[in-house]
Symmetry: D2
Subunit: 106 residues, 4 copies
């Protein structure tokens, strides 16, 4: 089962700068063979369900090892059986409608 | 690694009533040996990481089998290494501070 | 427009214990005339859109005043136009289906 | 108070294709003077708290007017008082650590 996910990891009790922890996770996610897109509020992932969740677990284990006593993660997970859709196709589907003017009538 | 999670599953393209799908998930979660607390915006779960995520995967598979072509799930996931804490203890920790009056000074 | 929401506030850079901040928010939410249900991973809210979001903003302002330099909040927000539904009715709708046995056929 | 947010709107009971609704929201967000970055699992927003939440409310109103009887929205909201930070700076902060090699020691 393929999944497109959005993953945000927030270490708690580890100071105000979170980027060292997020960078360590990016390396794990990239090394896991997933499609990975860092954005301003998290990281988008595309891959097989088991591969995605194994990588997320490894991020938690690693961020704890780096010294964070507590972690708060948010995941958005999308699966579909009607058709295969990539992350790029999701974005293109919206942008196409913007260009071709599905204007809001008021 | 123990996890306390909040799980909200939203079938898309399956009509406006979601409770049959949520009820099917509850049965899966209860059958998985997790601590399960249904609330107004999702279900709180407490258990081992692998058991929690195996149950969430089984919910996606089942809701697709029930006819939903698309699923949007939100998960909040908490882990901690400083101490063991149950869902009840998390709530009690907040309620205790309310009763003993950590008033907001303004 | 009525909203049923799930609100989780996570102060960052303010130590590992979050309950004093959450308790301060509970007092704000209760004082705002909203229906408030604390649970293990957040707080469920029911009320008018503007009242809910004014209270959430006040929580951010207060938690910063209490000393948290950074806040990460997660909100789940539900609105519907087909019918009026309370938080209690959402839970009852699922529990009713569990009792009457919408068994998963496999 | 400035906010950096991630906004995902999921119309329920309105069929399996969500892009027309998301495109309508993008037009609202762009028209509201916010910094807007569409990604594969939502839209990142940067702006004043009140402007961001007024636009989110207008999205709910519009998607209901377009025919969706029910909406499920997820928001991640970040505020900070220690320093001003843009969405681009958040991403650069992580990417800089990747390039300069904060390797995970195991």
């Amino acid at each position: 089962m393929k999944v497109i996910a959005d993953f945000t990891i927030v270490p708690v009790g580890a100071g105000v700068s979170l980027s060292p922890y997020v960078a360590a996770c990016e390396q794990i996610l990239l090394g896991a063979g997933l499609k990975v897109q860092l954005h301003a509020n998290g990281t988008n992932l595309e891959g097989d369900w088991d591969a995605v969740f194994a990588a997320v677990k490894r991020c938690h284990e690693t961020v704890h090892q780096m010294g964070a006593p507590r972690i708060f993660t948010t995941l958005k997970i999308g699966t579909r059986t009607d058709r295969d859709q990539s992350m790029e196709a999701k974005i293109a589907s919206v942008e196409n409608k913007l260009e071709h003017g599905s204007r809001i009538e008021e």
